[in-house]
């Protein structure tokens, strides 16, 4: 068997091994799980090393100052490892603080625009006059839903006044409709993904056609051993 063909067999095996998990946790799904975690971790390490090398070659090795900064960063990176030291474990908080600080800073400045200002502005800019009535109606509905849902989440106000009850009810209904539609909408992409795997198993192009040769046999072996074992255990009892 050529290496490429063996690769296709591996692909078919791992695909089906994942789906045996739907039946129950079993040795095949466990093989898939551990191989995946091992290989993915290895991939991550390789990827990061490659990235580090590119950073060094592409950017930081150019000037003396940058080189020193790079080495300093690597030294700080090693401090993470002190997490395992009983005496000096607190040293790992330094790289942690640098990381958290930088990204909290980035988050503060990006979130305020992308998630707050932009959204508030596009809601305030919804027009209800000078456009066709259907769009005006939709804009009005959008605005009311946004305001009511925002109000619904208030934490520190006793929601006793009379207007709260209808507002909260409306917000909850709107949320349920929204959540339902998002759920239903996603069914399409999830089914499409699985259809993609079925096409792989059946060797439909662009997938390697050899897959359909392996599919029935691998499926038979996996299912046969699993069901056979469970049947055997059941009858023995």
């Amino acid at each position: 068997m050529s290496v490429e063909l063996f690769g296709v067999l591996l692909g078919v095996f791992f695909t089906l091994a994942v789906y045996t998990f739907l039946y129950r946790e079993n040795p095949y799904s466990r093989i898939a799980e551990y191989v995946f975690i091992g290989a993915a971790t290895g991939y991550g390490i390789a990827y990061d090393l490659d990235w580090l090398k590119n950073q060094w070659v592409g950017t930081w090795s150019k000037t003396m100052e940058d080189s020193i900064l790079f080495v300093l960063a690597l030294l700080l990176a090693v401090l993470w490892y002190f997490r395992f030291s009983k005496r000096y474990f607190f040293l790992y908080r330094i790289p942690l603080a640098i990381t958290v600080g930088t990204y909290i800073g980035l988050a503060l400045r990006s979130v305020v625009f992308a998630q707050v200002i932009e959204q508030v502005r596009s809601t305030a800019a919804l027009k209800v006059v000078g456009i066709d009535p259907w769009t005006a109606f939709n804009n009005l509905v959008t605005m009311i839903i946004v305001v009511c849902t925002l109000a619904y989440f208030t934490f520190t106000v006793r929601q006793e006044a009379a207007f709260w009850k209808p507002v909260n009810k409306f917000a909850r209904y709107a949320m349920m409709i929204g959540f339902g539609s998002a759920y239903g909408y996603t069914v399409l992409t999830r089914m499409s993904l699985f259809i993609g795997r079925v096409q792989f198993l059946l060797g439909i192009p662009p997938n390697p056609p050899e897959a359909k040769m392996f599919f029935p046999w691998v499926a038979l072996v996996l299912l046969g051993t699993l069901l056979g074992y469970d049947y055997y255990k059941k009858t023995k009892k």
């Binding site: 499409s192 192009p205 662009p206």
Partner: protein, 281 residues
């Protein structure tokens, strides 16, 4: 009538594995024995096909592969059908990629279609050309818009300078492009093309994308920047029916219909059993 409620109770707490098995069957079945369930054709798909049909002879179309191998499941049928449609029209086709894997994907699709052979018989370098990957994401789009020759100086297959190909003589900037086709899974994609090509050069575009992208592209359809859109496998099927070339999309449409219908049937069954059980209490 002690048995009837038990049926409902059983149905309500049905073993999920039965649901899984039924899903496997209804999705596998149509690929082995195609059913040919009816597909309704939406306005977005019609507009997409029309944008290509309306192209005047000799106009230049840029097809950009803005996705990686992961997007193949949904975009492969769209890419095949779109290029088939284009190769049967008397237009010049320039294929590029903004994603690094896009070049690999485009190569796969072109190898599958073989445009230089019948029924297309289109000459490479004269009727169509494949320029490969332009690195830099949105920056690359902007650079291409300004100057094609310097951004993608050689073609993908022969690594020869673009000036040696007749097709490139009339293509220097986005101003020379009649239509842009973007096949995409995410960023950079439609947002960036609109910013870099529509806003400055008014190049109209059509988009083939994965299903989840549809809501982000839809505003551009309303705004007129995007002329047509094919979101996902379902739209691929519609498009294949419009151009009369049934392929992977139509085959998948059956599986989509059966799986969605099974979903709805399960929801209905779940509700019937819920109410019957409650009534019997």
């Amino acid at each position: 009538m002690a048995t009837a409620p038990r049926i409902w109770e059983k149905l309500e707490t049905i073993d999920a594995r039965i649901i899984y098995l039924i899903l496997w069957i209804v999705i596998l079945w149509p690929f082995i024995y195609p059913i040919g369930l009816p597909v309704s054709i939406g306005s977005y798909s019609l507009a997409y096909a029309k944008a290509i049909d309306d192209l005047p002879a000799g106009s230049i179309v840029v097809v950009s592969f803005d996705f990686s191998l992961g997007g193949l499941g949904e975009l492969y049928p769209i890419a095949i059908a779109t290029l088939h449609h284009l190769f049967t029209k008397p237009v010049k086709i320039v294929i590029i990629a903004i994603w690094s894997d896009g070049a690999i994907v485009a190569d796969m699709v072109l190898k599958d279609l073989k445009p230089d052979q019948p029924p297309y018989n289109r000459k490479y370098g004269e009727d169509w050309i494949f320029l490969g990957y332009a690195p830099g994401g949105e920056t690359a789009m902007a650079a291409l818009g300004k100057d094609f020759w310097s951004t993608l100086p050689t073609d993908y297959y022969y690594k020869k300078h673009v000036s040696t190909y007749p097709i490139m003589q009339n293509l220097r900037s986005a101003n020379d492009v009649t239509l842009l086709v973007s096949l995409e899974t995410g960023t950079p994609g439609a947002d960036e093309w609109v910013r870099q090509w529509y806003v400055p050069y008014k190049v109209p575009m059509i988009v083939g994308c994965i299903g989840v992208m549809a809501p982000t592209v839809a505003p551009y359809l309303a705004g007129g920047q995007v002329k047509g859109m094919l979101p996902g496998l379902r739209a691929a099927a519609e498009y294949e029916l419009i151009i009369g070339r049934k392929g992977l999309g139509v085959a998948s449409a059956d599986a989509l219909s059966t799986s969605h219908m099974v979903f709805v049937i399960f929801v209905i069954l779940g509700n019937i059993s819920y109410f019957m059980r409650r009534r019997s209490k």
